[in-house]
Amino acid sequence: MSAAEKQEKKEEFITFRYPRTVVYKHNLGYQSKFAHALKMGRILATKCPVDGRMTIPPRVVCPMHHVKQTEWVDQGQRGKLIAVFKINFPMFDSRTGALKNWENPIVAVELEGGARIDGWCSETDPSKLKPGMILEAVWRPPEEREGKAYDILHWKPVE
């Protein structure tokens, strides 16, 4: 096969990059109250009037019963550990797309008020974290809060 023939058979690829930063500005609607409470250091959940189930993030309507959820319940600052995992490889940060190392394990916490929430744990050794352990919210300073999940810096095991 000639060099020209070889070149013709070679696969070609086209690569796209999109260097412009796109800013998405989504309206939170009913969840605005929840985001505002996070900035104040409080965790709120909506409560279903039919079975009392709490939802985080809050919803206008109960997903199971199709009724309006008008009651907001403060979930407190502590909860019980339900599940935990630690990421052992450089994984993307969903907010930026950048790969990063995740030193803090991710925990699922059942709050005093009954709702469940995800967060990061201050204890970096996941083998020291057991289901049922009590964890407490540690917040970022008020001036750093943005009404987002990472306003809670981490969840700290209570001695």
Partner: protein
């Protein structure tokens, strides 16, 4: 009244990690040509085309605009769908519904994924859930199943060795499937030696990055009987897209699969799924998912499936011939994966599965799709009506 419909043609790629030899549209054309040949049809026979991939993982939008022309299907009625990992499932169900409507005589369903072309795009999905909340966490299939599996092991007594047994069984099945991607000759020891990604999920427990496609052709009963000697009948289907926002609040290991299966079983009068359904192809993106899904489809009690593996009861020629193709942990071109499940069940019902054919009479099979944080599609197929 809706008409009864059947699958009369199937086509799937030999899925690989990379396909530098073909474009996305050409990958789709491969399986469309295969499905048309299987049905003894040409593109002239097709009335409508339903397409879909998990767009966020492919990195482009509205791909039907350039894929349909390359299939030679311009001018047909077209529908494009997507729903995270269940995309192929909603594509198939939409095809079933269109064929049953009486409006279309022959419907082509095509799904694909080319993850080799867009490494990293998956991360933009935000876990397929709430844009405001879930997107803030580093959610991926690996972290999703790490949490699920932690909860499963906490509740069940299942150990890492049992997860490894599941992975070995999946590999043994994949070794017999000519379309499977990973054929690794695994042992329990090899699985347990693989690196931890997010405990308890090890590298070998997770599905691969895949490039592949799948297609089926669906017809109403009159046409199906005319064109096919081995029509595979669509008995029922259900799409459960409530997602993890509902189910995981109660049990982090649970999905909507149990709800979807219970709904279908009730409608069809199925009281003993182990006896009344002989072929299972259930979308398990990790070895641990297979354990929970065996329970959620009703083959055993919650948190006991690991015991079936300990007792050596799961395999192509065993008491529980679950996922004889090797499943999704061996092969996962995401958008196409649910249609591959449908095709694999169809092959079992037709007796065309070759080396991974389940022995004995196979009259009814169940295929599923899984996606996001707990979405499911369940499709029930029959050899005879």
């Amino acid at each position: 009244m809706a008409e009864r419909v059947a699958i009369v043609g199937v086509g799937q790629t030999v899925t690989k990690s990379k396909r530098p030899d073909v474009s996305t549209a050409e990958t789709c054309a491969e399986v469309v040509e295969a499905a048309l040949a299987d049905a003894g049809m040409t593109m002239k026979d097709i009335d409508a085309v339903v397409t879909g991939s998990m767009e966020i993982a492919d990195g482009y939008h509205n791909p039907d605009k350039w894929i349909i022309p390359e299939l030679g299907a311009v001018g047909k009625s077209g529908f494009e769908l997507q729903n995270v990992g269940t995309t192929g499932g909603v594509v198939a169900c939409a095809g079933f519904a269109l064929a049953a409507s009486g409006v279309f005589e022959t419907v082509l369903c095509v799904s694909w994924q080319r993850m080799d072309e867009s490494v990293g795009a998956f991360g933009r999905g935000g876990g397929g859930l709430n844009e405001y909340w879930t997107r803030q966490y580093p959610m991926s299939p690996i972290t999703n199943f790490a949490r699920r599996t932690f909860a499963y092991m906490t509740n069940s007594g299942c150990k890492e060795e049992h997860l490894a047994m599941v992975r070995v069984k999946q590999d043994q099945c994949a070794m017999k499937n000519p379309h499977a991607q990973l054929k690794l000759g695994l042992t329990v020891e090899k699985v347990l030696e693989s690196p931890v990604l997010a405990w308890p999920m090890r590298y070998l427990h997770m599905c691969p990055s895949s490039a592949g496609a799948a297609a089926i052709i669906v017809c109403p009963e009159k046409k199906a009987r005319k064109v096919s000697k081995k029509p595979v009948w669509v008995e029922d289907y259900f799409t459960a897209h409530q997602g993890g926002g509902v189910t995981m609040a109660e049990d982090p290991s649970a999905s909507t699969l149990k709800h979807a299966c219970r709904t279908i079983y009730k409608r069809r009068g199925i009281t003993n799924p182990k006896k009344e359904i002989q072929a299972w192809e259930v979308y398990e993106p990790s070895s641990s998912a297979e354990l929970r899904w065996i329970e959620e489809v009703g083959l055993c009690e919650d948190y006991t499936a690991w015991k079936l593996f300990e007792q050596g009861k799961v395999g192509i020629d065993k008491e529980y011939p679950f996922n004889p193709s090797g499943g999704v942990t061996a092969t996962n071109p995401i958008g196409a994966t649910p249609i591959i499940r449908v095709i694999e069940v169809a092959l079992q019902l037709r007796g065309d599965a070759g080396e991974h054919q389940i022995p004995g009479k196979i009259d009814r099979g169940l295929a599923t799709a899984y996606g996001g944080q707990g979405e499911n599609v369940v499709m029930l197929l029959r050899r005879s009506l």
